[in-house]
Symmetry: C2
Subunit: 449 residues, 2 copies
């Protein structure tokens, strides 16, 4: 487990005893990301006391971590001067995040608190499409010119006075603000002070565009291992950077979104407990209705074979097993393909390669399942022909489901749809129909019923 | 899309024309992470040519990105001097990664190429449990003492001469090598050269232990937004750091693993195409057999109600719909709970809170589905009682499946099992049995058959 270096109880006690000096010292030891745990336990009055004990920089760091309800209540308790001091310290992208969640009267107060120049930038950032690189970037970065010396570069860094991860990579721009390359802060540090910046540039830099999807940005972080990714506009001018902490948030959120889509849930960005019961129901009902209607088709097909199962009622007993196995096989294949597409490991040009792989896997798996089941049927029902019917159906069902599980997500991607919708629930419903049709047709043919 | 600043064709052409000077210049523009794409297209002889044109640092960076087969072939083409130069430049954790994948004769050559001290560290790292923080950390970091000045700190950093992300955070240790705090490189940079290190320390630092699971480490990155996480041993001495690029790999791999587990696949670390057909079959067959056996139970239960569906064959038509809907509802709930547990948003103490939420969602969703289906049945079969039977069953099935989907993953976590195994496939099979039992019992009671 993580080293925990504070106790919420200790904080509560210090507040109660009004030992604010001790509390101030104690709070200094606590990481900004742990403050939400503390704020959960205290009332708003105490929250503002705690908040006022933090220094400016830490205050902004803590503020950015809080949930939007508490942020709003805190802002309402802030004086204009306090609000300005928090907003001044916040990263630009965090300010934009806060603004997006606030009611209009609070937004107005925030926009009054920022400088004219920042207000312009904020308005621009609010206009980038949702989930684009532009919407998650920060506009604070170090830009250098090729003909600067290392000493001049340091002056510039000190003057901009940026925080943490925005400073590790310094970007070198030409006179049109186009991105020429990057210099690692470490390279500046170990160089002589009169060395020219242009001799230290790494030109193997990769950039994203403001309108790129944030998922692409996250993938690029995974691939290139940067701590910050430059973002350029249409004219290839550097306009911002995405820092790695935000990229991690995106990676985690995108995975959660895929999990939800693959379980037939309309994804939301709110957490589980933050989402109301009605919203949960709304997020789930649409797909359930669609899938219910399509499984009714399967049911209707079954009634067409009434004569068959009237003659041999035991046939009905195999329906759940065939449906479940088909569903599970399809879900295995579709999950692997969807995930492979999401991580760029599988590409559309691999279509036939993947299909051929799935077909061979299906045959192996199908034959093993057919034999296992065949033995069971021979023992339980002493009916070899029945074992043959079920076995052949199983091999067919497994193959169909693996082929569909492989093809449908890739087809979705080809059609510019999200492959994640072609996951277990939809595949299962499609495979169900195939299973039932295959089963009764084989049964009628072999058992002559 | 990402800005692509090279063409594989161009590389191939320059190799063919033996324009090695131009090639060398061209390669400098290409990011290390893009080299695997190039090596895919060229043969081993050309690969070693390309490799020899890279400078030492870039060569190591590129080498670390290659897949282990190609690494092995390259090592076999290396002279001992070349091997030593690559290994010297590699991060310690990358060297360990390479060693873990190589046959013993190659391992011996690598170990001969490293210094005595490094060999000791490598052997220690090879001994950390798989998937522990110790196994993914690097032992290269900057350690400072409290009574150093900023100028001395810079000297130390230059002397250690580390690369990129290992240098952004400098760790301050006491005389027992216990971790006292962290200093951001930026804070050193903007301070006066005679300032004391102890005045710049951040003490709100969080560390992980060598034996912590790598998943915990990844979660800590998500929470604290560090670019490097310190790793301490049992005596709380700093022994290494995990850098953010490795943490991102872990986050992506752990998500992939959960996707696979939740689709009833035994997870592997190899990629989709790297895994052989037989290995794929092996990874999938176990759960399929288990789930097949349990769905046979459902089938057997159906045969107990032979009289019921002999009297009213249309009953059979509703089985697929009830099974699918139950499965989908259970999978929705279990996915949300499993993901919530994985991201620490849902905790075990929230058991009843989550359960109560799921029950209310189930009732809303169940009633809507029952009404939709009821209308359909009244129109199609003109049989109100049948609509009532199916409707009541649906409400029951949805409730049971959402309750199980919520409870089982949390129960698994409580029992220290991986919640991800309690996903759609297993829940579906359990819910199937409940659906069939509930359906026929309600049918018998209301329809008197």
């Amino acid at each position: 487990m993580l080293e925990k270096n504070f106790e919420v109880e200790e904080v509560l006690e210090l507040i109660e005893q009004k030992k604010f000096n001790d509390l101030k010292k104690y709070l200094e030891r606590i990481n900004g990301a742990d403050f939400p745990t503390i704020f959960e336990e205290i009332n708003d009055e105490d929250a503002i006391i705690v908040f006022r004990l933090l220094d400016k920089e830490k205050g902004a760091e803590v503020f950015a971590e809080l949930d939007s309800d508490l942020q709003e209540r805190l802002i309402n308790s802030f004086t204009d001067v306090e609000l300005k001091s928090v907003v001044d310290e916040l990263f630009m992208d965090d300010t934009v995040d806060v603004i997006e969640e606030m009611p209009s009267n609070v937004v107005k107060r925030i926009l009054r608190a920022v400088s004219d120049n920042d207000r312009k930038i904020i308005n621009e950032m609010l206009n980038y499409p949702e989930d684009s690189a532009g919407s998650i970037m920060t506009t604070e970065f170090v830009d250098l010119k090729e003909d600067m010396t290392v000493a001049q570069a340091f002056e510039k860094i000190k003057k901009i006075g940026l925080k943490k991860e925005t400073v590790y990579n310094c970007y070198v721009l030409d006179k049109n603000r186009k991105l020429v390359g990057v210099i690692d802060l470490k390279d500046l540090l170990v160089s002589e002070r009169d060395e020219l910046v242009k001799n230290l540039i790494d030109t193997d830099i990769v950039a994203v565009k403001t309108i790129d999807d944030r998922e692409e940005v996250a993938k690029a972080f995974d691939k290139y291992g940067y701590v910050a990714m430059p973002v350029v506009d249409k004219e290839e001018r550097l306009v911002g950077i995405v820092t790695v902490d935000d990229a991690i948030d995106v990676i985690v959120e995108e995975a959660s979104e895929d999990f939800e889509k693959m379980a037939a849930i309309t994804p939301t960005e709110e957490g589980y407990f933050k989402t109301s019961v009605f919203q949960h129901a709304k997020n789930r009902i649409l797909w359930l209705l669609v899938l219910m209607l399509s499984s009714i088709v399967t049911g209707t097909i079954i009634t067409n074979y009434e004569e068959a199962f009237a003659a041999l009622p035991v046939l009905v007993a195999f329906i759940p097993m065939l449906m479940d196995t088909g569903g599970n096989c399809g879900s295995q294949s579709s999950t692997l393909i969807i995930r492979g597409l999401a991580t760029d490991e599988i590409k559309l040009k691999d279509f036939f390669k993947a299909l051929w792989k799935e077909i061979r896997v299906a045959l192996i798996v199908g034959v093993i399942l057919a034999i296992a089941n065949g033995i069971r049927i021979c023992i339980q029902y002493k009916n070899f022909k029945l074992a043959l019917v079920v076995g052949l159906t199983l091999i067919g069902v497994v193959t169909i489901s693996k082929v569909l599980g492989c093809m449908l997500p890739m087809l979705a991607k080809k059609l510019k749809l999200d492959p994640a919708i072609m996951a277990a629930p939809l595949i299962t419903t499609v495979v169900d129909t195939c299973s039932v049709l295959l089963f009764f047709n084989i049964a009628v043919a072999i058992l002559h019923i």
